[in-house]
Every structure is written in structure tokens, then in C-alpha cells.
Assembly symmetry: D2
Homo-oligomer: 371 residues x 4
């Protein structure tokens, strides 16, 4: 999906395709000063060494990217390839030095390319969840001590978050991984006055739930059971098939119903890996609800979405909004970006429409002109 | 569905069942002074002469009403039966005298039962649409003249609306029929300072569309085609199978997408009569939408709802809200009730969540205490 | 489901309802001499002590049985209640004596009621699978020795099968449990010249697969993935939610595709317990298949069935067919009954139509007249 | 779809792709002597003048044909282009001379390319149905007289059929149009000892119905209503949107259920044009069926198929089978090819599996070796 985002930014930026799926281009945001798509440049950290052009050709084959498009943005892809580094997490001796390496990479990137803002967005594979409330994560001081002692046990996502915040880069977590979601890192963000956002891009089943669940609630109808089945292939499908990994995802998907309904709902989310689906996810949700006089009725939906195509424009939106927030001096968790996330930081508002209104209102407050 | 509403009001009013599906009982409306369910009494006009108890037993058989319930509210059903009159539309010589008969019935009903407010709600069979802009409907004066000359050609729904407004009863149209939707009747409502509302209760496919369409729009995704198929039986299924009749319904269902999206959508709504479905409607919607880089994706949903069970509580909600509006001195088209209608009067806001917020805000303005 | 079968047999036998869902009443079987529904009498073993009348009323509430019907067949239900014994498996000291108790019950039942044939049909809760190929199950002699030593470790279903065959009763396994599927019991059946049949009644998702999979195969279309999700509540839902239990079911559901297709298919079957669904099962299958020039296409189906209503008539069919087979001197595994089972004994033919043709042909061979 | 068939034959014939979807390549037909894919050559009549290469590129864009494939079979496409003639139906003065022109084209094609057999397959746009039983179609003599008088009023499909049979070419109708389905043309076929087959290739909804309907019947379950909705775009979608045209299709789709079930079923088939779907058809079928004790259950399916990819291999199968039948001296209506058609000639057997068995048996009778 990172590839789709970079390729798409180049294609939109050079006017080859319209920005369908990019929320930030809606007329509602016209007054907001956001970076142009042609002003965005990309870099990153990876574990594997496959050129973006090759990945783009695979996406053509998978019917995500139109034939012919990669060639038209080849120079942008090559430029981004130049800025992709092997992840220090995979090589460095200890967490401390790995973090240091990432900081160096980020500062170097910003300096060399003379960038206003570098937004770090985590779009790497979903991690298994870590135990909640470990002492070494409880405060910045405790974390620093643990890092010194080599016992910090930070997941990769949190190391990236640590590095980003330390290098004065806003941080966004598009995955359900831990990222900046530790008291120690909240403290760090506050100290550095950096904004951050997350968690887990809302691109399919949960997106639909975020409008259907309020509908049932507002109509005083009571879903007794809401059973979701997600078939997905691709990298994400394979990752989530590993024991433990899907749990993060399922947890972030399940918080919503409990917070929207007053009554108890049998709420189940299942994720199954179907390799041949590739990037095409199919979700089937079955909702049995109770109405007047106890009558039981059913709603079902099937969502057949291309994951990368749904996620990539949101990653670009987040880069644009978070950069603007940074410039406007916002810091701490950006709960006004809840619209983008399955498990939004700092808010219990899960209704999509309310989240959208809030996003618009917040964005207008960032100040206009520019772009 | 009228039977379900009357039976249900009695059952809720006497605490036999919880008010599932009644929007007006949500905590959001706690501060609003609304009539209690046990304070509602019913009457009406019908073409056929079947006792409510018999209809209620048919609804048990059709699995809409729980076995045993009709017997528990038998006295309420008998009381309502006493107040149901043969429709003067079916018997009276001319429109003028038919309207006069309805006015007499309404005034008599209010006086004998010592009622604060009588709200007239049209829940009769859908009529075929009438030509738009006839001269005799253009003003109250023109209508009066045409009535005198015997050329008014009002559909039944408009005669009921005329009678209701003349008798100082607020009028609600739960159907797609013409009702109060004529310049002459708007004038009459203004003159009598009566509120009115409509059109066409939003209980199934359109309800779902009213949250999904804003979702696509807010995500900058572009539905290229939205094809809806509705299978329904029962009285409504049979009526809509008659040539012309379904057109009113389809028109009121189709206005939404055009107003929500900037781009053109191939928007089709089909209604098919499947007698064995009885009161159970099944809608299947197929939405093909375009996302980032032109990728085409699909969402489908199936809605299996019991029409009466979905509509009846809304009819009770409308009675409560409109009575409160009347008491609070509101008059003219109540566009704040858009939440309830497929084709709401006086507003182009079709997003359900916005409509809900507006309803709550409006209801709070009606003033509290009481109930 | 046992309750539905007994109640239904009484209702059909006394002409109260038509035998919808009873395969054996199709014109194709008119020439076959089968016991009349009014000739069937019931008994059984249970773990719990709830009267059939009470269970029947629960089924009315669950919308499986029409209101009023239990009262009309009350005497038949009471008669069956008299013949239901507490399962010796739950009380007896060792397997040997439990088996002996069941034999005594069966012989006593046959004698007292003067029955031609007693068919034992296992419709009890699904057991967890047992290890395959244990030495004590390898031959009748080994099993007898192990029983003597108290180490037989037979699952309940196999104890019933043992008892049935020993008491000269044909045995049918409508569940995926082990039952007669052990070399030792095959030997016993051969010795006693008893017929037996199984496994796992085919009533929903697998039934549909047994016609769709041959369709794809005959059309030379290649399903790449076939993902099935089953939502079910009721007793079966609760049982299958226990770790291990669903495995028997999933295994018997999965054998089919491998045997129908030449190529490899990603074949997944998931079972989820949704208590509020009660006896109403919903299966959703998603099939992605490859066609000409490698084009990938999709078929999905949703099956919303009432489990008891689907299974009960088949249990009655099996009783009738197996009794006739016994009378005609058939013994050993009845692979011609594959039409009824997810995981049929003694055949790899999974196509439903072939199975039906085979059933008709076999039944005609049993000889006619009677009934 | 004609383009897909020609392009696909070339690709399969030269080993570039496997023959997925080609029934005639199943092991069951290995003993039958059928023409090799590389032995097939193509020609035809068209109304419009678009090169096959251009059409093939459109099919790449529509995701029917893999990128790159048209270039690999370019010479075959060019060769076929050489053999495509403007339809004389569009230009000739009267029906008689138009038929004569087609005969000349066919004979010339066979002679120049030194072909064993020329099979004429109608894959042109669906025609509106014509009145049944016109006197001029009642016998060959009547038809000849009418042609002389210029009053024959044959639809184009019947003119092609007439020409084919006259030129000693077997004729196949893959469409629901009239074709050879007139007494006069049956007589002509008998006289010329030519085989013919039809009607209307069975590639989607009807295919699935042909296995599900027998399943319900064999299980003694009673579908009360079977409602089918077909969304399709492309040329076929546009054609069927014209008033009258869809009727042929709907009629050929509806014959099945009446012939499979003993009871009455509410059987409805709807066809809607959704231009953006292009060649991708989506069918949704909703089946409400009655089971034991009158319980009502539901099955739904969605079929998302690429029409050309489904139809093209069957057209090639038909060419191979019909050529072999011709060589083996078969003539008259080939009812053993019912497997391929929605509305098969000369048989009321609609169950797919029976049709398949019959096809295999018939094909084996054609004699082997060769290929
Ligand atoms: N619709 C969507 O695509 C969507 C929606 C919400 C969330 N997400 C999340 O976004 C993430 C990416 O999804 P994807 O579909 O692109 O997955 P993917 O498997 O295609 O890509 C993940 C990439 O991350 C790399 N990676 C793994 N660990 C890394 C590390 N420690 N450092 C650097 N790189 C590392 C992998 O090598 C791989 O290339 C997942 O966590 C997914 O759950 C995706
Ligand atoms: N979910 C819903 O049930 C729902 C939703 C939206 C709108 N509606 C509308 O509500 C109306 C009623 O629906 P229903 O399902 O109860 O239909 P129904 O056919 O069961 O009942 C309509 C009743 O109106 C009576 N009637 C017809 N013409 C009349 C007249 N001129 N005067 C007096 N009575 C007359 C009929 O005799 C019948 O008893 C329909 O117009 C329907 O479109 C229903
Ligand atoms: N459509 C169907 O209903 C269907 C289809 C195929 C197979 N089956 C199988 O049939 C079986 C019964 O299904 P159900 O829905 O009726 O389940 P259920 O849970 O409603 O009934 C099972 C009954 O078996 C009893 N039981 C459990 N262990 C026993 C023992 N050792 N001895 C005697 N009784 C025992 C339980 O007390 C319970 O009353 C299950 O194994 C199920 O998988 C059912
Ligand atoms: N799955 C399938 O594609 C499928 C299945 C069953 C039946 N069919 C039938 O096959 C036919 C072709 O389907 P399609 O999708 O290829 O349609 P299409 O519209 O893409 O192609 C039809 C072609 O026929 C040509 N044509 C029309 N009238 C003609 C005439 N009189 N003489 C010569 N050419 C003529 C048109 O110019 C057009 O190129 C239709 O009748 C359709 O109903 C198709
Ligand atoms: Na909303
Ligand atoms: Na079959």
C-alpha cells in the first residue's frame, strides 16, 4: 500500500489521474492551506529490497494500478527508491542504537531535501499486541532507564515513534500496532510539542460499521448480533494469519459497537487469509437486530474493496493534514483525525458523520491560504 | 401497518413490551415534553371493514406480532375499532361533501374523547402520482373555485389533508402520495397556522442509503452505479404492482443520490411484488464505486425487514412530535422531521446523521416538562 | 431436532401437515415399500430430562413449529416421553455395563411395543474427534479385550453403535461423531449382518456445495478459493463452540472439494456460535473461480435455514429407508445413502444428483408392495 | 464475446493459456475425436467495422483479456479479420438475395480455406421475439412461396440459419433469437440432413438455477418464490434495455422452474442495464422456500461473472462438438447438447448433471480417434 500511495501521489501531483478517494481534496477543505500533491516527497524504511517500479508492476498485474501508469511516473519512483533505507530494526545491535539510526536518517532526509516538515507514517506489517501497562513504558524517565539497561522491549512501531518524535517529526500510525500509544511516548510528544495520530486506517468493514451502527442506534433498533468475516490475501492477509497478529486488528475493530450501543451486542470479527484474493478484501457482515414488538430482522453486507486503493489516498490525506497541524503548532494526540481510524486516539466518538464534521471544523481552524 | 401501530401503542403504553424502534424514547429526547403512549387514542378512516382484532391475529400468523399479545390489548383494539369510520371518499357524492364529512368526523372525535390534539396521519395505500402544477391546485382560491365547480380532482390523500387542516388538525403523510404537497394546501396550512410533515416513511433501503451515500461522499469515493431491487408482498406489494403506483415510491426513493453526489450516478430503483413475502421486505442494493487510480470496487447489502414493525413505531413517534410541535405553536412544513422521511418536505439534507442532529435540536426547542 | 422429528412424524402421520422435506415421499419412491409415518414409534436416550411437550413449546417460540401444533399431537409426544431413558453413558460404572444397559433398553423397547425393526439413529451432540487407528479399535477381538480390561475408551456414539448392532438394530449416524466408524464395529456389523449408515446429515452449506462444486467441475471452471462461514446458535452452536468439537464437523465438511476437483482449492470452513440465532443457521460461502483466459470471477451464496426443520424429515427418511434395507436383508455400510450425508460411508461420490440417482436405483432394488 | 472466442482459440491453440472453461477438454471427452484448437479458423458477418485487434485491446482495458495477449496472437486476429464480411442483412434489397449472399460467402469460405466443416454459430445481438405460428413459417414450401413474394418476414437469425443449412453448414444458436426454431427450417434441416442446436448459452444465473432447482426438488423442499435480478452492461446490456428485446431472454430463462417443480413457484426474472458494468454481469437471486412443518427459509446467491469469458469457451466447445456430430452423420436438433443452453431444443431435461451425463454419453457415441 505504501507503493500505491507514492505512485498515486506522483500521478495525482502531475495531473495524470484525478484525486478520487482523497478526502482532503473535497470542497469542504478548499479554505485549508495544505501541501500540494506535487510538493510531497517520499522516503522510508523497509525490511526487504524490492524496487518500487517492480512493486508497481506487480500492482498492475493485480489490477490495482492501471497498465501504463508506472512508466509515466518512473522518475518519481526512482527518486523515492533512493530515499528508502534498510530498517535499522533489522540490523542494529540494541534498541537504543536502532532508534539513533532512524533519527539520523530522518534528520538527514529533511536536511538534504530541504523539507518543511517530515511526517513519519507507520504502514508496516501489523505487530502482535504487547502486554498493557509494563513499568518500563510508564514514563519517559522509566523508558530511558530501560533503554540504557537494554530492557526496553519496545516493539518496532514504538521505536519508530520514539525516533520520529525525537527528530521533531509528527508521527502517524496507520496500523493497529502499539506505535506512540505508550505513556512514555505521550510524554515525549508533549515535551517536543509534536502532534501524533492513529490507530489503524479505517478502509472497509469498520468504515461501513461506523455509519450503520449509528443508524441502528438513532432508530432505536437493537442489533443482537453483529458477525463480521473478513477474507483477505496479500501481505496483510499473510501477516494476520500468524497467531497473535490478528488480535490487534480484531481489538481495534471491536471497540466501536460497545461504545455506540447501550445494550449488549454479540460482536464477533473474524479474519481469514485467502492468498488468491491478493489485495482484494471481501468482508461479509451479518447483523441480526430486534425491532418493534421484538421482531427480529437481518441486514447483511458484502464489501469487495481493493485495500491499497482504499488506504493509499488516506495516507496522503494524513500527511497533508498532519503537516498542516504541525505548522499550525498543534501537538499531542490529534483526536480530530478520528475520521481516518478504526481505533482513534483520544475520543470515543465512532460515528463517521460526527467525525467528519469535527475534521472539517478542526481543519478550518488550522488557518488558510498557502498551497 | 396501522394495526401494528395501534396494537403496539397499547402494548407499550401498558408496559407489556419495551418501545424498541421508537426514536422518541431515546435518551436524547428525555427533556422534551411528549405525550405518553398510554395517553394516545386512535381512530381513522378505512375502505374495508375488518376488525382490528382479526387483523392482529393475521399479524401473529405472519410472525409480526408475538402470539398472545392481541388478547392482552383487546380492549384498546375494540375502543379503536369504535372510532374507525368508512371513508367518505368511497361513498360521498362529490369531493366537497366528502371533505365536509371527514371534517365532521374529526371534530366529533376530538370533542367526544376530549382530546388536546388530533394528528391526522396518512397511512393508506400509495396513490399513483398526479400531474404537477395543475391550475386548480395553484392557490387556495383556485382550489375553492374548482371544488365549487366539481372539478378539483384532488387525490384522496389531498382531500384528507384538506379536511385535517380545516379542522385544525396537524397532518402527516407517511406515504409518497400527494397529500398536503400542493400550493393551495400550503396556503391553507399557513392560514390555519397548522404544522404538517411528510413524505414517505424511511424504513428500509432508503434508510440505509441515507447513511451509506454520505459515507461514500465524505470519503471522496464515487459510486458509478447504485442499483436497488426491492421485493415486497403484503398490501403495499400488491398496490405497487399496479401500473403507475410504484412511480411515486420510486421517485421519492431516487431524489437522494442526485443531491448527495457531485457526479452523475446511474441510480436505479426497482420494486417487485412477491406475494409470499407478506410483510417481509427484502432489498438488495448493488453499488459499484470508483476509488484511487480509478479502481472499481463493489458494495452490496441485503435488508430483510418486517415493514410494519419498522414503520409502526415511527408513526407513533410522528404523532408525539407533531402534537408537541402543534402545542408549541409551530406551523407550516416541519422540515426538521426529515429524519423520518424518504422525501422530506422543505429540505435537501438527506444525510441521516445530520437529520438526527437537527431533529434533536428542534425537539429541544419545543419546550420540556409535561409527559 | 429429535423433538422436531418426533413431533413432525406424528403430524404427518395423522395428516395434519404435508410431508414437505421428506425425500422418501417423492413420486420416485412410490414403488418402494416403506413404513407409513403413522407406523413409526419413538424412544431414545437423553442426558437431560425435559418433556417433549415443553421442548415443542420452545420450538413454537423459536418459530420452528407452528403455534397450536404441539397440542394436536400431545398424546404421541407423551407416548414417546414414556420411552425416553436416561443415558446409561451418564451413570453406568464402566463402558461394558453401559453398553449392556443400552442393549437391554433396546430389546425391551422392541418386545414391549412389538416392533418389526428398531433403527437406532444418533442425533446427540457432536463429539470431539478421537485419534485415528488406536489398537483397541482395530478388531472386534481387540475391542472386546479392551472392554474387559476397562480400557476401551469408546466415545459415546460408538458405545451406542456397539449396543445397537449387538441388539440387531441397524445404526445410523446423523452426526459427525465416530459412531460405527471403527474397524471393530464394522466387524461386529458384518457378524450380526446389520446395515449401518452415516455420517453427518447434509442439510445446509454442504448440501449446496454438493451441487455447485460439480457444476464448476463440469464447466471446467476452477475455484481457487472456497471460503465458508457458518453462523449457528442453538444446542449445536454451543457444542461446536467448545474447543475441538467443531473439528469433526469441519473435517466432514471439507472432504468434498478435494474429491471433486483435480486442482488444488483453498478450502476453508469456519463455524461461529451466535447464540441469538437459535435454530436458524446462516451460511455464507464465497467462491473465487478462474475462467477462460485466467479471468477471476466470484460467486457468493447465503443460506438461511432452520436446522431442525431441515434435519428432521431426513431423520425420518433414514428410519424408513434403513428399516426397509434391513427387512430386505442388506447389511454393512449403506453407501447408497450418500445423498443424506456430508461424509458418506464407503463412497467418494459427492455430487448430489448422482447420489440421488443412486438412492432411487437402490431403493427400487429393495422390493415393493407393503406400506 | 465473438472476439474473446477467436482470440482465446488462438491463445489456447498455440499453448499460451490453458483451456479453462472449455468443457470439451475435460478428461471425460478424451476418447472423443474433436478438432484441435489450432485447427479452428474463423470468419463471420458483422454490422460494424471494427478490427478484432482494436476490440481485443478494449477487452484488455475491460479486464477480460490479460495485458499483452492480443499482440501474441495478432496474426490469427488479422487472418480472421480478413474473413469477416459486412452482413448482407444490412444491405441486400430483399431477404431472398440476402440469404443468397450469405450462402455464397459460406461456400467461398469453405472452399478457399479447404475446410472439412463450417459451423455457423449465431452470436449476434438478441432480437425481439416474433409472433409464434405465422403461416409463412409453417412449412418449407410456405416459406419458399413467401420469400418469392417478398413477405417472408424472417428475423435475421432465421435468415442466417436458412443460409447455413442450405450451404450444408450445421447451425448453432447461442442467442435466444428465433434462428432455426421454425417448422420450415426444421424441414430444411431434415432435407439437407444437417444438425443444429440452441438456444441461448447458459453462462450465469440460469446455469446456477439448473443445479439448485433440482437440489430443492430432490430434497422435497418447495421454493415459493424465486426472484432473479440481472445487472449487465456491455453490448448485451444495451440491447436488452430496448423494449421487447429482453422478453426473448426472460422467456428462455423462465421455462426451467415450471418444468422442474410440481408445485407453482412465483418465478420472476428481471434484467437491468447498468452501462458501467461492461462485460461484468451481476446476478442476484432470492429464493424463499418452504420446508418441514411449513417453515419458510431463504437462499440467496450473487454471481459476478465476466460474460465473454464464460460464453467464449462454450462457443468453441459447440463448434468442436457440432463439427464432430456432422462428421458422424448426426442431423436434426441436437438435444444432447442441452447442457450448453438455457432453452434447449427438443428436451425438457433442465437438470445440469443429467444434461452432462447425456452429453458425455452422446459424445462417446460419435466415435473416437483423430484430434
Ligand atoms: N486497507 C489497507 O491497506 C489497510 C487499512 C488499515 C490498516 N492497514 C495496515 O497497514 C499496514 C500495511 O498494510 P499493507 O497491506 O501495505 O501490508 P504489506 O504486508 O503489503 O506491507 C507491509 C510492509 O512492511 C514491511 N515491514 C514489516 N516490518 C517492518 C519493519 N519493522 N520496518 C520496516 N518495514 C517493515 C514489510 O516488509 C512490507 O513490505 C498493515 O499493518 C495493515 O494492517 C492497511
Ligand atoms: N414500512 C412500511 O410499512 C412503510 C414505509 C413507508 C411508507 N409506507 C406507506 O404506508 C402506506 C401503508 O402501508 P401498509 O403496508 O400499511 O399498506 P396496506 O395495504 O397494508 O394498508 C393500506 C390500507 O389503506 C386502506 N386504504 C386505501 N385507500 C384508502 C382510502 N382512500 N381511505 C382510507 N383507507 C384507504 C386500505 O384498505 C388498506 O387497509 C403505504 O402507502 C406505504 O407505501 C409504509
Ligand atoms: N441440521 C441439523 O440440525 C443437523 C445437520 C447435521 C448434523 N446434525 C447433528 O445432529 C446432532 C444434533 O443436533 P441438534 O441441533 O439436535 O443438537 P441439540 O444440541 O439441540 O441436541 C442434542 C441432544 O443430545 C443430547 N445428548 C448429548 N450427549 C448425549 C449422550 N451421550 N447421550 C444421549 N443424549 C445426549 C443433548 O442433551 C441434547 O438434548 C448434532 O451432532 C448435529 O451436529 C444436525
Ligand atoms: N455470456 C454471454 O456472453 C452470453 C450468454 C448467452 C447468450 N449470449 C448471447 O450472445 C449474443 C452476443 O452477446 P455479446 O455479449 O457478444 O453481445 P455484443 O452486443 O457485444 O455483440 C453482438 C454483435 O452482433 C453484431 N450484430 C448485431 N446484429 C447483427 C446482424 N444482423 N448480423 C451480424 N452481426 C450483427 C453487433 O454489431 C455486435 O457486434 C447475444 O444475443 C447474447 O444474448 C451471450
Ligand atoms: Na452518519
Ligand atoms: Na446436479
Amino acid at each position: 500500500m505504501a507503493t500505491t500511495a507514492m505512485l498515486g501521489a506522483a500521478a495525482v501531483g502531475s495531473g495524470l489521474v484525478p484525486p478520487i478517494g482523497c478526502v482532503s481534496t473535497r470542497p469542504d477543505f478548499a479554505p485549508v492551506a495544505l501541501a500540494g500533491f506535487d510538493e510531497l516527497v517520499f522516503g522510508g524504511h523497509e525490511l526487504v529490497d524490492t524496487s518500487l517500479l517492480k512493486r508497481a508492476e506487480q500492482l498492475v498485474h493485480a489490477r490495482v494500478v492501471p497498465p501504463g501508469l508506472p512508466a509515466l511516473v518512473e522518475s518519481d519512483l526512482r527518486a523515492a527508491d533512493e530515499e528508502i533505507r534498510l530498517s535499522p530494526m533489522a540490523t542494529a545491535g540494541d534498541q537504543r542504537s536502532a532508534i539513533g539510526d532512524v533519527i539520523t536518517d530522518l534528520e538527514d532526509f529533511r536536511r538534504r531535501l530541504e523539507l518543511d516538515t517530515v511526517v513519519v507514517i507507520n504502514v508496516s506489517s501489523t505487530e502482535a499486541p504487547i502486554p498493557y501497562g509494563l513499568p518500563q513504558h510508564a514514563s519517559l524517565r522509566a523508558l530511558l532507564r530501560a533503554l540504557d539497561e537494554g530492557t526496553a522491549a519496545l516493539p518496532d512501531s514504538s521505536m519508530y515513534a520514539y525516533a520520529a518524535l525525537s527528530a521533531d517529526c509528527p508521527y502517524v500510525d496507520f496500523t493497529p500496532s502499539t506505535g506512540a500509544r505508550l505513556p512514555a511516548l505521550a510524554e515525549l510528544a508533549a515535551e517536543r510539542r509534536m502532534p501524533y495520530a492513529g490507530h489503524d486506517g479505517k478502509t472497509g468493514e469498520t468504515l461501513v460499521k461506523s455509519v450503520l451502527a449509528p443508524m441502528f442506534a438513532q432508530r432505536a433498533l437493537r442489533p443482537l448480533s453483529w458477525s463480521g468475516t473478513n477474507l483477505l490475501g496479500g501481505g496483510d492477509g499473510a501477516t494476520l494469519a500468524e497467531p497473535g497478529r490478528a488480535d490487534s486488528k480484531i481489538q481495534s475493530k471491536r471497540r466501536m459497537l460497545a461504545e455506540i450501543f447501550d445494550h449488549e451486542t454479540h460482536d464477533a470479527v473474524h479474519i481469514h487469509n485467502v492468498p488468491d484474493l491478493g489485495d482484494w478484501k471481501t468482508a461479509w457482515d451479518h447483523i441480526m437486530f430486534e425491532g418493534f414488538l421484538g421482531v427480529r430482522m437481518t441486514m447483511q453486507f458484502t464489501w469487495q474493496g481493493c485495500d491499497s486503493a482504499l488506504a493509499a489516498p488516506l495516507v496522503l490525506d494524513l500527511a497533508r493534514f498532519v503537516a498542516a497541524a504541525h505548522r499550525a503548532g498543534r501537538h499531542g494526540p490529534l483526536s480530530d483525525l478520528a475520521f481516518f481510524f478504526k481505533d482513534p486516539l483520544g475520543t470515543r466518538e465512532h460515528g463517521l458523520d460526527r467525525q467528519y464534521e469535527r475534521l472539517v471544523h478542526w481543519a478550518h481552524g488550522l488557518g488558510g491560504e498557502s498551497a
